[in-house]
């Protein structure tokens, strides 16, 4: 299933978000493994900004200082 096309939330290359938010490729790989919704077109990987930001927030909330046992 594909999502309805929203010009303001067009899928962007994953690298774009990595550069913008300063996230390493390894972290992106782990996030994808943990459920970050991505879209592969040919050999390239894209992601919607809304989904990326939402996922990033959940990951960040999990790793707040003091949460570690």
């Amino acid at each position: 299933m594909t999502q309805a096309y929203d010009p303001k939330d067009c899928p962007m290359p994953l690298d774009f978000f990595l550069r913008r938010y300063g996230i390493s490729r390894t972290t992106a790989w782990r996030w994808r493994k943990n459920g970050l919704p991505t879209l592969q077109v040919g050999a390239k990987i894209f992601c919607r900004e809304s989904e990326f930001v939402r996922f990033m927030e959940t990951q960040t909330a999990k790793n707040q200082p003091g949460d570690a046992q």
């Binding site: 299933m1 594909t2 067009c10 774009f16 493994k33 459920g35 077109v41 040919g42 390239k44």
Partner: protein
């Protein structure tokens, strides 16, 4: 052939009338669809030639000519036979026969009447036959009552020849002069092939008795009293000679047992091979089921010889019970006579093996549905089981394609691809067999192609055009944008659109054809002419589309394209299962 007769026939039955008579009346016009091939456009033309005679031509390459050429092509006859039949069809009165002519051509005689032959076998003849062959009078009477024996052209004992519907179309008679057997009418004249004499229902029979000669059958049936009590679940097949064992192909049920009564004839002085042994081996090779040999005791030449020498019912029953299974072997016959020594052969020819070509195809190893289809095609086309079986394996392989993988070892995956090559003599039914076997796949493929043309392709094309417009807009915006962040965002969006467009363009290419049958066109070829230019390359070779790309690659491409039809937009990847190997889906559901 008398030219006057032909001219008369053409006047009485011109091409247009002939076509109407053959059921092609709607094609008898200047422009029509060709009756000889699957024609999507009008390739056929009937026109008046320079000599004022009606002629025809198929512009797709089926041929051209006059009424006789049309008739010969339609019936698959030689020119001579077509002329003869055409004259008969035109009802041209035959010329007065010369006084010396005592043997007119059978083909201009009226249709064969078997009942008159049966009626001609009088009680005196029947008594004489019983005495000659050593049968009981009751058995001969039963044979006569069953319309299984008659008298042809005077004193010639004859047996009926049936067509597929069970109608007697000719007779197989014994010449008194030399004891040889002939057919009347000539089978090629009536468009028939040699067929065995079958008594009983071969489809349901669990035990099938196979004989080389009619006399052997009569001898055994008489002694075993089959005319008194017909045994259940049995049938009899008589091949009418040692050379016709291939006629068993496709006739026997896979779970039946064939009891073959071989003959103890002498070896051929030239080849050193016994015709009876060759017949038995060929029966075992073609019957497609278990075959056992009922051995006639050695001093006797055949079963009839044995019964005339005093064989009794218990003896024959004991021999049948002791029948040994026949194994087909490709090993040389060590009992055969050594080849003749030639001092200085001028040329050395490759030795021809008289052994059967191969072991019978293991039909029982296949799924029941597949085995049933193979047996049915083999029976319909009268070809050995191996031919449709190889085709069926190829079709199944092509249908599965890369859609199924078996992990056959560590780091090793095997797919269902098979590379098969079936070869047989010209005219032995290869194309027709493959056409029947591949028909389901070809039909399904044609339906998918039609769906692709009507639905998928327009959707893809419209999507590509929309993407083109969006790309152009994004390019303009990115060029005008002064904000670096915005510019980078637009570039990212543009990258996505371009990737989508590339993918859509790849999908919009024409799907490959997986299976193709000569004579059928399912759209990948633009015209019949272009197909013929590639003709023969694809026949039987499932998984090829005539292009120069490797077959496996093409198959994978085709597979991907067909699969893509189900979900047009880009694949939505589930990241939760990214590293888990997903089972591949079947291509055709």
């Amino acid at each position: 052939m008398n030219q006057d007769l032909l001219a008369q026939a053409k006047q009485r039955l011109p091409l247009s009338a002939l076509m109407a008579q053959l059921g092609f009346g709607d094609c008898a016009k200047k422009s029509a669809r060709c009756p000889f091939h699957e024609d999507s456009s009008a390739s056929f033309s009937l026109y008046i030639g320079d000599d004022g005679e009606e002629r025809w031509k198929c512009f797709a390459g089926c041929g051209q000519g006059d009424a006789i050429d049309f008739f010969a092509k339609h019936r698959g006859l030689s020119n001579t036979d077509a002329c003869r039949e055409y004259i008969r069809l035109a009802d041209v009165p035959p010329p007065p026969a010369p006084p010396s002519s005592s043997n007119p051509s059978p083909s201009v005689q009226p249709p064969f009447d078997w009942q008159s032959c049966v009626a001609a076998l009088t009680p005196e003849h029947r008594a004489k036959l019983a005495e000659w062959r050593g049968y009981t009078p009751e058995f001969v009477e039963w044979l006569h009552a069953q319309n299984l024996i008659g008298l042809f052209s005077g004193e010639r004992i004859a047996f009926p020849v049936h067509d597929a519907q069970g109608k007697v179309i000719a007779c197989h008679y014994r010449r008194k002069e030399d004891g040889s057997w002939r057919y009347f009418q000539k089978l090629e004249d009536i468009g028939a092939r040699i067929s065995p004499l079958i008594i009983g229902d071969m489809v349901t029979a669990k035990t099938i008795f196979a004989f080389e000669s009619q006399w052997d059958y009569c001898a055994v049936a008489d002694k075993l009293g089959w005319h008194v009590t017909t045994p259940g679940d049995t049938a009899t097949i008589i091949t009418r000679g040692a050379e016709n064992s291939r006629l068993l192909a496709g006739l026997c049920a896979p779970d039946a047992v064939v009891c073959a009564f071989g003959q103890n004839d002498k070896p051929n002085p030239k080849t050193g091979i016994r015709a009876g042994a060759k017949w038995l081996a060929a029966v075992a090779a073609h019957c497609g089921c278990k075959c056992v040999q009922v051995v006639t005791p050695s001093p006797h030449k055949d079963a009839n010889d044995w019964t005339r020498a005093g064989a009794t019912r218990p003896e024959i029953e004991a021999t049948i019970a002791a029948a040994q299974s026949v194994t087909v072997s490709n090993e040389p016959d060590l009992h055969a006579a050594p080849p003749r020594k030639v001092s200085k052969p001028a040329i050395t020819l490759p030795e021809e093996s008289d052994e059967p070509e191969s072991a019978p195809f293991p039909l029982d190893a296949l799924p029941l549905a597949m085995a049933t289809i193979i047996a049915a095609v083999s029976r319909t086309e009268r070809v050995p089981l191996a031919l449709p079986a190889v085709g069926a394996l190829g079709v199944v392989s092509a249908a599965i394609g890369a859609g199924l993988e078996v992990t056959s070892g560590p780091n090793r995956v095997t797919r269902a691809n098979l590379y098969l090559l079936a070869s047989a003599e010209s005219g032995s039914g290869k194309s027709e067999t493959f056409r029947l076997i591949a028909a389901p796949l070809v039909d399904h493929q044609a339906r998918l192609l039609e769906t692709w043309r009507q639905k998928t392709s327009p959707q893809l094309q419209s999507e590509i055009r929309v993407l083109d417009k969006e790309i152009a807009t994004l390019e303009r915006k990115a060029a005008k944008s002064g904000d670096l962040m915005e510019r980078e965002r637009l570039r990212g969006e543009l990258e996505y659109k371009l990737a989508r467009k590339d993918e859509m363009t790849a999908r919009a290419a024409m799907p490959c054809i997986i299976a193709q049958v000569p004579g059928l066109h399912h759209g990948a070829r633009s015209s019949p002419r272009s197909y013929h230019s590639h003709g023969g390359r694809c026949q039987g070779a499932t998984g090829t589309d005539g292009s120069r790309r490797p077959a496996r690659r093409r198959e994978c491409d085709a597979q991907r394209r067909w699969q893509d039809h189900a979900h047009l937009p880009g694949r939505q990847e589930s990241s939760a299962g990214m590293n888990q190997k997903k089972p591949r889906e079947r291509k055709y559901k």
